[in-house]
């Protein structure tokens, strides 16, 4: 055994001196075990993210297409193919002035959401900054979240009739209470030490509210807004169903009356695409408004 050890160490020294005399180049690259598709908390490259994202969308369309071909011929018009729906959407744009309906819906969503933010952000800041204000307002506003927005439809019809205002009021009611709750959370999540350190620098109340708490919570507030405008989009059809003359929802309801399933599905597809575009808009805005959130580490 002793001899073995000696020979081993001898060869060890030999190779060591061999390396020592010619320290050229680097050690060979270490090949870590290949990362499988289902690697726990694995890594994903930018290219992979894009490819996988597209694969997901294609998979959805594939399932849809398969469903179309599996449907018996006499019912096939109730499950139109991807091609039929997209060509219908193009037809609507080209022949039926669909762009005006889309613009109207987008206008309703954005204006009602803007007003909801005008209400929710000050309320959230007020309650997040002053605990007594929170005690005063939060039980009421918190409770209102449990009222289903759709149940306001008859009331809004009685009050305002089939007007644009009634539709936007519904969209507003659908998201404003949740928005208040989320923004309140965002404001309250600002670390106390940030506020206290501003106080020891001599900052006054208003300075702390607007230039410390609000600034600190701003990226999260924008994120809450991005999540809530998605909810607004989900309310769009409910808002536009009743006595609607224009908007994506109205086009879909008209399609339903004549059993034009391709029009209905085209409407759903449009809302989906617009929703994704809205999401991207918010993300891009966040990127430029808050450069510190993606600073290199």
């Amino acid at each position: 055994m002793n001899e073995n050890a000696q020979t081993e160490s001898a060869t060890g020294t030999a190779s060591a001196t061999g390396n020592g005399s010619a320290p050229i180049g680097q050690a060979p690259l270490f090949k870590p075990p290949r990362e499988g598709f289902l690697e726990l908390r694995g890594t994903v490259s930018r290219g992979q993210t894009i490819i996988l994202g597209f694969l997901g969308v294609i998979a959805l369309f594939l399932i849809w297409e398969v469903a179309h071909y599996l449907t018996p011929d006499y019912q096939q018009k109730f499950v139109p193919s991807v091609g039929q729906v997209t060509s219908k959407v193009f037809f609507l744009f080209a022949e039926k002035g669909y762009i005006a309906d889309v613009a109207k819906s987008v206008y309703r969503i954005y204006l009602s959401f803007f007003v909801a933010c005008l209400v929710a952000i000050p309320l959230g800041i007020l309650m997040g900054s002053f605990i007594k204000m929170r005690a005063l307002i939060n039980p009421t506003v918190g409770g209102l979240r449990y009222l289903p927005a759709a149940s306001f439809v008859p009331l809004l019809l009685v009050y305002f009739g089939p007007t644009d205002f009634a539709k936007m009021a519904l969209l507003f009611l659908g998201c404003v209470f949740f928005l208040v709750a989320l923004i309140l959370d965002n404001i309250e999540a600002v670390p106390r030490a940030l506020i206290e350190s501003a106080q020891t620098m001599g900052a006054g109340r208003l300075h702390i509210i607007f230039r410390v708490t609000f600034r600190a919570a701003a990226p999260q507030i924008l994120d809450s807004m991005r999540n809530m405008i998605a909810v607004s989009w989900t309310y769009l059809v409910i808002a536009e169903i009743v006595a609607a003359t224009d908007g994506i929802g109205a086009v879909m309801m008209r399609g339903a009356r004549f059993l034009h399933v391709d029009v209905i599905m085209g409407g759903i597809l449009t809302i989906g695409v617009l929703g994704v575009l809205t999401d991207i808009t918010f993300r891009v805005a966040a990127h430029f408004l808050f450069p510190h959130t993606h600073a290199r580490r």
């Binding site: 670390p191 030490a193 940030l194 206290e196 350190s197 501003a198 106080q199 020891t200 620098m201 001599g202 900052a203 006054g204 208003l206 300075h207 607007f210 230039r211 410390v212 600034r215 600190a216 701003a218 808050f290 450069p291 510190h292 959130t293 600073a295 290199r296 580490r297």
Partner: protein
């Protein structure tokens, strides 16, 4: 001073200067008791002491001895249950820029760059843009961060974030700098660098500093005087001047080790700490 202005005011500042000339203490703690949970927990029990100008005072003691509470009372972030804390003879009624505080937690504003962070405190006090810039650059140089002026805090290491906090507190030109376990979250080597930087700052600015720490060696290295707190409720166990240092400040920590009296002092502090935590494992 507009609606966004600070609670810093000129009359108060003038009164401070008079008090300073009259030789009033930067801080005096007068028979302070601080209770929590309606008296169920007594954090500080009838404590009195003064902080002397241009001295570095370390408050040290086992966890839960109320040392951070006392510092927060000095900062004006909390108020005593009994007694009062005065700054240059005037009772403290809230936080103010004349008492700068560095927290253990990272408190740099993440949406501002390093230099904007340091400027922020100066801006609150209504100084001109040029003055803000000058002061920020000066203090960033003092904490050796001038190369990172335009970085965001999230791009920095823990030690660098604390340098930003120190520069920011110094830039508001406080009479007193309060340090609440400022290096508690840093690793040993970074802590050591930061301690030496504090000595450098003492040399350069001659500020009155109150330091809360649980690190005996840090206290002995930095302080001119150590106030040792008993375990809950916090009282003063011993108030010790670091006479063995003979007023010297050591740029290099290792130079302290060979100083006569150093080992005895540290041993004494360890013994006191053991007495406080004896039989009560935290």
């Amino acid at each position: 001073m507009g609606i966004f202005g600070s609670n810093f005011n000129a009359a108060h500042h003038a009164a401070l200067e008079v008090a300073q000339k009259e030789g009033k203490f930067p801080l005096s703690v007068n028979r302070v008791t601080k209770e929590y949970l309606n008296g169920e927990r007594v954090a500080v029990d009838d404590m009195s002491f003064d902080i002397k100008e241009h001295e570095v005072t370390a408050m040290i003691g086992p966890s839960g001895c109320g040392k951070t509470t006392v510092l927060r009372l000095m900062a004006g972030l909390e108020f005593p249950t009994r007694g009062n804390v005065e700054s240059f003879g005037m009772p403290i009624k809230g936080p103010g820029p004349e008492r700068g505080l560095v927290f253990q937690a990272y408190t740099s504003f993440p949406w501002l760059t390093v230099i904007e962070n340091v400027q922020h405190g100066v801006a609150i006090q209504g100084f001109s843009k040029a003055e803000q810039r000058d002061r920020a650059e000066h203090y960033l140089k003092l904490v050796h961060l001038d190369d990172f002026a335009n970085a965001y805090p999230d791009e920095l290491s823990g030690g660098m974030k604390q340098r930003v906090a120190i520069a920011r507190a110094l830039a508001q030109d406080p009479q007193i700098l309060l340090l609440d376990e400022p290096f508690g979250a840093l690793d040993a080597q970074v802590t050591w660098e930061m301690e030496e930087m504090v000595v450098e700052i003492c040399e350069n600015t001659n500020k009155t500093i109150v330091l809360v720490t649980h690190d005996i060696q840090e206290a002995v290295y930095l302080a001119d005087r150590i106030i040792f707190f008993t375990r809950q409720p916090g009282k003063i166990k011993e108030d010790m001047a670091m006479e063995f240092k003979q007023g010297q400040r050591f740029k290099r920590k290792e130079d302290l080790l060979s100083e006569p009296g150093y080992v005895e002092m540290e041993k004494r502090l360890y013994t006191m700490m053991r007495e406080e935590i004896q039989g009560r494992i935290s």
